[in-house]
């Protein structure tokens, strides 16, 4: 009798643990997806803001025309990049933005507004990249453990890996591009 009771208790405990772990995996997977959609949205916002600023400045000559052209092209390529090239293309856009802002002094009402949008979007690219990578790290940390790894075989979460790009924030003293951190500097 005692053996049966112990067995039942063990099964109940195991079931509770597995259910709890499954909900933890769900929560982390949802967090990774949410963080990715935020990062994606901020990257798109930044590309749009950079494209608009470049287009405006090219017409109103606040920026060096060739730097504005490079920024506009980079923004366009960021909008149509495939997932594989995305990190490199976004880094190119960061460099193009830095070069463009270093090349021309921006003044005046409208371009100031566009520049504010770009500054805000760039800042949020940095924040959302950080939050996304944290989510990926927490997720991988849990999924590496043996029980969880087995459970994950039965799940259909899309695979998401770290998104590593150089700091995008625009600072007051931004000069033309400096050496950037490479994409290959990924945490192992």
């Amino acid at each position: 009798m005692t053996e049966v009771a112990l067995l039942v208790a063990a099964v109940v405990l195991l079931a509770t643990y597995l259910t709890w772990t499954a909900s933890r995996l769900d929560r982390l997977a949802a967090r990774v997806e949410a963080a990715w959609s935020a990062l994606d949205a901020q990257l798109v916002r930044r590309a749009a803001a950079a494209g608009q600023l470049a287009a405006y400045e090219r017409r109103h000559s606040g920026l060096d025309p060739s730097a504005a052209k490079v920024m506009e092209d980079a923004a366009l390529r960021a909008r149509i990049a495939t997932p594989v090239e995305r990190q490199d293309v976004e880094n190119d856009l960061t460099r193009a933005i830095r070069a463009a802002l270093g090349a021309g002094v921006l003044r005046g009402g409208r371009s100031e507004q566009l520049l504010d949008d770009l500054r805000d979007a760039s800042n949020k690219v940095d924040l959302s990249r950080q939050f996304y990578n944290d989510a990926v790290r927490d997720n991988e940390g849990l999924r590496r453990r043996p029980v969880q790894r087995t459970m994950c075989r039965f799940r259909r979460d899309p695979y998401r890996s770290y998104f590593e790009i150089a700091d995008a924030a625009i600072r007051g003293s931004d000069r033309p591009a400096s050496p950037e951190r490479r994409v290959s500097d990924l945490p192992a």
Binding site: A30, R31, L127, S128, D138, G141
Partner: protein, 380 residues
């Protein structure tokens, strides 16, 4: 935006985290957000601002050299759940998320809202979190965005919790300090005539705040400046530190005890030089920001945190930690140099602008907006 803020420490006991939460809440409200704060309350009769909801009474636990007042009991857990249900928040911002109080209870109870966590302590001497971390890991995984208020707090998180942290410094309500009126009779304006008024703010009987160093330095300073005065503001047993002082020193010191927010700002405005003689354990140095906001020239210990807040030591005079002789000499020199004092004031005013609450709150709102970008798909 509907923001729920959680403060783990008693609302009616002044402290760094509580002041941070209060100033953040009030700044966010000024910016037009809806804010509700959940915090423990020690005294049942305490009058709370309309935006604060009580998380119940506190248990007093000695911790890290002082007494932590924490709400960690079933009644608090029930209050947390009710607050979450009533609040219907867009974002939850939990301060010291692993503190065994309203903070960790909220972290456990929350299921729907995106969570932002701010870490304040650097806790170099505490092994508490290392011990509890495996148990806390599932709760920590709920935090979508982590903020540290100082490089020391950030380093602590990176080493003990892992992962990245956004650094957003503590804020200071610059206008509150800049506009305060000095206390009657202070400063005496005797810096040119063998005097000068010096200020200290902090617990008088907590040795790492450094009052003994300042008292020893003040004793020496009186030999050169017999009319100098010292204004000491802060709670604690005065006799423990000043009991042995000779009368000629004791009578030049005014002990004001614990001050209200109003009087604290006035105290900073009442001195010719503000002194922060701390001997360690400071991860940020909020008193320096307050002094800079009030326009007081600063003499401070050469601690990493202080050097950083003083912009590499350009916005204040630094002296070797614990060196009363060097402190006395620095005070004497600065009291005799009005040009240098106004230079430090001007530099301080410039530095402190970065820490003004409207600027800091905007950086925090950017974090809220970033986690909210994802909210529609983030439910469950």
């Amino acid at each position: 935006m509907r923001v729920g803020l959680v403060c783990p420490y008693a609302w009616d006991v002044p402290g760094g985290v509580m002041a941070h939460v209060r100033d953040l809440a009030e700044t966010l409200i000024t910016m037009g957000h809806h804010v509700s704060v959940l915090a423990p309350v020690e005294d049942d009769d305490a009058v709370l601002p309309p935006y604060v909801r009580s998380a119940g009474g506190v248990l007093k636990i000695p911790y890290n050299g002082s007494v932590a007042r924490l709400a960690f009991h079933p009644k608090a857990a029930a209050k947390v759940r009710r607050w979450l249900r009533d609040g219907d928040f867009d974002v939850l911002h939990i301060h010291e998320p692993v503190a065994p109080s309203a903070s960790v209870l909220t972290l456990w109870a929350a299921s729907r809202e995106p969570i932002v966590g701010t870490f304040h302590a650097s806790m170099d001497r505490s092994r508490g979190l290392d011990f509890w971390r495996p148990a806390l890991q599932p709760a920590l995984e709920k935090i979508r965005a982590r903020i540290a208020v100082s490089p020391a707090a950030r380093r602590y998180i990176v080493e003990h919790v892992g992962g990245g942290v956004v650094l957003i410094p503590n804020g200071v309500a610059v206008a509150h300090y800049a506009g305060a009126a000095p206390l009657p009779g202070w400063p005496a304006g005797t810096t040119g005539a063998g005097g000068g008024d010096i200020g200290f703010l902090g617990r008088v009987d907590e040795s790492r705040k450094g009052l003994p160093v300042l008292l020893a330095a003040f004793d020496r300073l009186l030999e050169r400046r017999p009319h100098a005065r010292l204004l000491v503001a802060g709670p604690g047993a005065v006799d423990d530190v000043a009991g042995d002082l000779p009368d000629r020193v004791r009578e030049r010191i005014s002990f004001l005890g614990r001050l209200s927010e109003e009087d604290k700002a006035r105290a900073y405005r009442s001195v010719d030089v503000f002194c922060a003689p701390n001997t360690g354990g400071e991860s940020f140095g909020i008193v320096l920001l307050e002094a800079m906001a009030a326009g007081a020239p600063i003499v401070a210990s050469d601690l990493d945190a202080f050097r950083r807040v003083l912009d590499g030591g350009t916005a204040g005079e630094l002296f070797p930690v614990g060196d009363a002789g060097a402190l006395a000499a620095t005070l004497d020199r600065l009291l005799g140099d009005p040009g240098r004092r106004s230079e430090l004031c001007a530099r301080g005013a410039e530095v402190v602008r970065r820490y003004d609450w409207p600027v800091v709150a905007e950086a925090i709102v950017a974090v809220y907006e970033t986690v909210l970008t994802a909210a529609p798909t983030a439910g469950r």
